[in-house]
Symmetry: C2
Amino acid sequence: MNASALNTKKEVVCPKWIMPIADALSRVEQTIDSATNSSVYIASQISSYVFAAGGKRIRPCLVLLSAGISGGDLEAEEVIRMAAAVELIHTASLLHDDVIDSAVARRGVHTANAVWGNTISVLGGDFLLSKAFCLLGDIAGNEVISVLSRAAVAMTESELLQSICENDIDLWRSEYWRIIRGKTASLMGACCESGAILARASDVARSALRAYGESLGVAFQITDDLLDIAGDPAITGKQIGSDLANGKFTLPVLLALKRKDFPRELLSKDRIPIEQARRIAEFVVQCGAVAEAKQVAEKIAAQARGALNIFEQSPYKCALEILASSVVAREF
Amino acid sequence: MNASALNTKKEVVCPKWIMPIADALSRVEQTIDSATNSSVYIASQISSYVFAAGGKRIRPCLVLLSAGISGGDLEAEEVIRMAAAVELIHTASLLHDDVIDSAVARRGVHTANAVWGNTISVLGGDFLLSKAFCLLGDIAGNEVISVLSRAAVAMTESELLQSICENDIDLWRSEYWRIIRGKTASLMGACCESGAILARASDVARSALRAYGESLGVAFQITDDLLDIAGDPAITGKQIGSDLANGKFTLPVLLALKRKDFPRELLSKDRIPIEQARRIAEFVVQCGAVAEAKQVAEKIAAQARGALNIFEQSPYKCALEILASSVVAREF
């Protein structure tokens, strides 16, 4: 497959709430570009490819908005670097996830492993992860390095746990919440906490933002899991039932499994073929489990907004509130 | 394959020069053990497995000895943590290398990917890399984080370059030195430099130790490359010609390629079968290219020793000198 043919730069989605951080976000993009520039051409190439593929840049937004709501300077070099670093860590994990899931498409374009193969993708992920810590190494004060490296550990632990749970409904039932907390909430919590740290926020503000980020992450991940079952493949860029076919039993499926008429004959001890996974997904929608899981996500998003009560009104608070509502309303 | 059956704890090789740092080294082992302990069982299990498989612990020794020769306190918590962190980074890279090379044995035992598969090994590497930065996040002062993260980047860039050069003799000829500097010398240089930084050494001492570590790394890697061609598989735990079979043309082969009677018919545009690689290796030994490459390694090891001239005699200096000699004389 030809990389350059696929590498069409997508516009980063830019809703109105982003306005107060638009300039800072543009500097984050420049920082990502320059940080991932390498004398080894393939390292630059794979980085440009994955970042040009788009992405919502939610994690950098969380760093910037958390610094903003805490009264910090969004344009401070350390805040910009932190915001770039969290996106590098997130993208590194996506590169490795796609290798693990043998995914061929993400965000509507071919995955890096589909273009260059697994070796380059594994090493590309390592490159981005290491570069993230390079960016942070230059930030005065290493509290944020502790926060971020602990999140990176939680992410890999969660992926390991997910891998062990593969295709085992009972394990998924007992570990689902632990998996999504580690997989998504830990990094989003770390983004908010590090924004607060860099803005020299009080301990109370720091804890509140951490709580906001973690709840947002859980709500975000449940929504991701819902979109795998009930999303529009033309918008999500993913096939319906991909998670099931990869041995992942997420909240809507776990809720549907409580129904007596769940089509158990479609389950399998081995991997579920995608066609079968799609039929299970249809049941999960029809039985109301998707709606039920969506309510859970909305409740947790409301908890995230509630964590912001201690802050005075500001464009940053407003943006964080809108963000919490939009992650559960999104279609991709 | 059963992990527990293979997981026989090997004694860490303990030559006499290690005596001045023996206590500190034992604390490094404890730190590695506790740092890699995880509530996710498979994360602890894969870590215990790879560290129990042995290894020379050269990189932690370099941190400790560099701190020692610079007059620092070997037992300081930050020095111990740094020494543990560099071994975590090194081991993370081995886990990913073994996935990339589809290696089944290392240090005479089955590789993690042979036991658990590629997914667990990729994630296990990510776990160790993230844990390394967790250990460093707690060290006051982040200069060492910059030094170490830059080394981690250089390592992945080098692996990417190596992957691009695969099976291409001309590329290997032009990139060999760059590859081995990134692959091995960058981390060994960083180990020595960070030991110096933590001991608050002068800039001159820091540069000298960096130069020592980099030369040691180059000499070490050339020796590794030699052992792939001329080592004893019973001692190295690797098949003769593995590098060639993996598309790597290292110094002894590149030197042999200058001989007119090189058996070019054994080369291939695709991967070279291991039996053919073994026959090439035989020629490389017989034509004297192994001896020639060994001389190059010895000369660079002498340069490493020379870099220590600015230091007064001490058990640490003596150990670093012996280490430089022993890396080129080693059989595994």
